[in-house]
Amino acid sequence: MRDILNAKLGRRSVLGAGLAGASMLAMPSVLRAQDKSLKVGVYGGFFKDSFDKNIFPDFTKATGIAIESVAEPTGEAWLVQLEQAAKAGAAPADISMMSQVAMLKGQSTNLWAPLDLGKIPNSKNLIERFVNKYPDGKVAGIGAVSWYITLVTNTQVYKEAPTSWAALWDKANADKLGLLALVSNSFLLEVTAKTFMGGTKALDTEEGIVKALEKLSEVKPNVRLWYRDEAQFEQALKSGEIPMGQYYHDVTGLAASQGSPVRSTFPKEGGIQDSGCWALSRASKKTEEAHTFINYMCQPAIQATLSRKVGTSPTVKRDLLDLTAEEFASVSSDIDPIIPRYDLYQTKSDFLNQKWTEMIAG
């Protein structure tokens, strides 16, 4: 999943967040609810800090609902905690920001309370694909924010920005790349399919997946680091130690604006667009407040604030936003994005994981 947006979030703080989450599980009653309050889970670190500072206070002012933000650990740990808690009838957070794969996994156990779009009129602002639905059409989650993973380079080592994902395969880049280590967060199969196989539909069959993996294994000699820890790659990218790779567009932009010699490029095949959904735990008793919250977050003005302050890409339609062309370009691109094949990470996750691990470690 996504170790979201914060370069400084080390394994320790993830563990810390996990512990915090676990201890909330243990004593939910300590957090005595006020008349109107809502516990919202967001990724710990930069993300939570930004929301606490830029979004939640205004929401409380506008609606009178107090927000208690909970730092979510990354990976699927939070999903597991929510699931265990829901079995016991508890909700460590009413609403959580969840990755798409976690949304699908939660659907399989009906973890997400169906949302009533009638109470979320602003959901009509959303780009269609950001409404996450159960197979029977009930709404499981609503797009919160989206972000891009793009091709990043160190500007001192690469004077010219690369233009295509094919640069990863270029023999000239031997031992120079940093790529995400997991099949389910690097989305490199989709990149391979879009770049060389005419689109992600090529991954529909297992033969297609195996072919994409074969093509992708040609990248291996170029890869210096398969990273799980974002801070490690970010630091190496800034220093030029590992001058090229895939990374988050927003954090790279932030680093560049602070003077680091890095750049993020949308390749002509498109950046990888990943996103997080707001989802309501079925154990939550704050259904009304949750709908109010999600409705508030779907306003174009709030999405624009998120783009400006947090650096995320909006989930509402472009023409509703008052972002300038420059502001929009700093968080997104008009190039058609590569949308990950989330369905595969649910239906074929073990197959993919096995083949992937054998490919990179074999």
Binding site: E76, A77, A181, R228, D229, Q346, T347, D350, A361, G362
Partner: protein, 284 residues
């Protein structure tokens, strides 16, 4: 003072607390893990209680066999490296002045306060092309061009040995301090060189301590999952790395548990074998 065997339940009192802690923090979690390792994995979901061998069956493949083999090899290599460096070091330390001993021991103990993350990042910087030690070699004229020493097997080995070294010294130190100096003196009087006296008298006298140290470092190194990730290439990832992947990223608890159980069993078997071999040799 005569020691009497405990007569009443209350006499066992002092044992209750450690036994309770051991049960709560080791026996129960471990039993849970064994139970989960037989559960049915729900792909794209979580798991359901069951009694299936699928998770173990998946593990029994050439790929995981190789990973397990590498993990064991790495742990053994780190243990041997620690002992080979640790014995002469601790021997010399135990023969040096009290003040010097204290300084060294404090320095070594302070390594224990560093987290694995910090050790990993520090070594990855030291081994980097842009800021690493090779720049120093270039400056000294030993090398023509700075180069990256990580990711590599050597980098993983170095960092793991560094991390385990304080424990090695702490285990060896008491035994070496208590070692009767007259033993080596006798060897020297009989004409042995210092190196020969060390190898033929000190090392054999410490056989049990050395075995204990090897086992301790082996087990310590077997659990390492951060350093191989930070400093190694994917082929240097240990089984612990793959267990973490399954547990945290794939939410495949049954498979992660099965791998962990397997790892524990294999390491217990190896430790048992080492102890058995040690006893056999002593019996001769």
């Amino acid at each position: 003072m005569r020691r009497e065997p405990p007569q009443r339940l209350a006499h066992y009192g002092p044992l209750f607390f450690p036994a309770g802690m051991l049960t709560v923090f080791f026996v129960v979690p471990f039993a849970t893990m064994i139970a989960v390792s037989f559960f049915q994995r729900q792909q794209g979901g979580f798991y359901t209680p069951a009694f299936v061998f699928d998770n173990y069956a998946r593990f029994l493949s050439l790929f995981f066999g190789k990973v397990l083999g590498f993990s064991l090899f790495l742990a053994v290599a780190v243990a041997v490296a620690c002992v080979v460096i640790g014995i002469p070091f601790t021997y010399l330390l135990s023969r040096s002045a009290r003040k010097i001993q204290i300084v060294w021991l404090v320095a070594l103990l302070s390594i224990l306060s560093l987290s694995e993350v910090m050790i990993g990042f520090a070594w990855s910087t030291l081994f980097s092309r842009t800021a690493g030690i090779t720049n120093l070699f270039v400056w000294l004229g030993l090398m023509a061009q700075a180069q990256a020493l990580t990711p590599s097997f050597g980098a993983v080995m170095t960092a793991m040995t560094y991390q385990a070294f304080p424990y090695t010294v702490l285990v060896l130190y008491p035994a070496l301090v208590r070692l009767d100096p007259t033993l080596t003196e006798a060897a020297r009087t009989l004409g042995a060189s210092p190196v020969k006296a060390f190898l033929t008298v000190v090392v054999p006298a410490l056989r049990n301590t050395i075995l204990a140290t090897l086992i301790m470092v082996f087990i310590f190194a077997l659990g390492s999952y951060l350093l191989p990730q930070l400093l190694g290439r994917p082929q240097h990832w240990t089984l612990s790395v793959l267990i973490t992947d399954q547990a945290i990223y794939q939410s495949n608890m049954p498979f992660a548990a099965a791998m962990a159980v397997f790892l524990v069993l294999v390491s217990l078997a190896l430790v048992g074998l080492a102890l058995y071999a040690g006893q056999q040799r002593q019996a001769k």
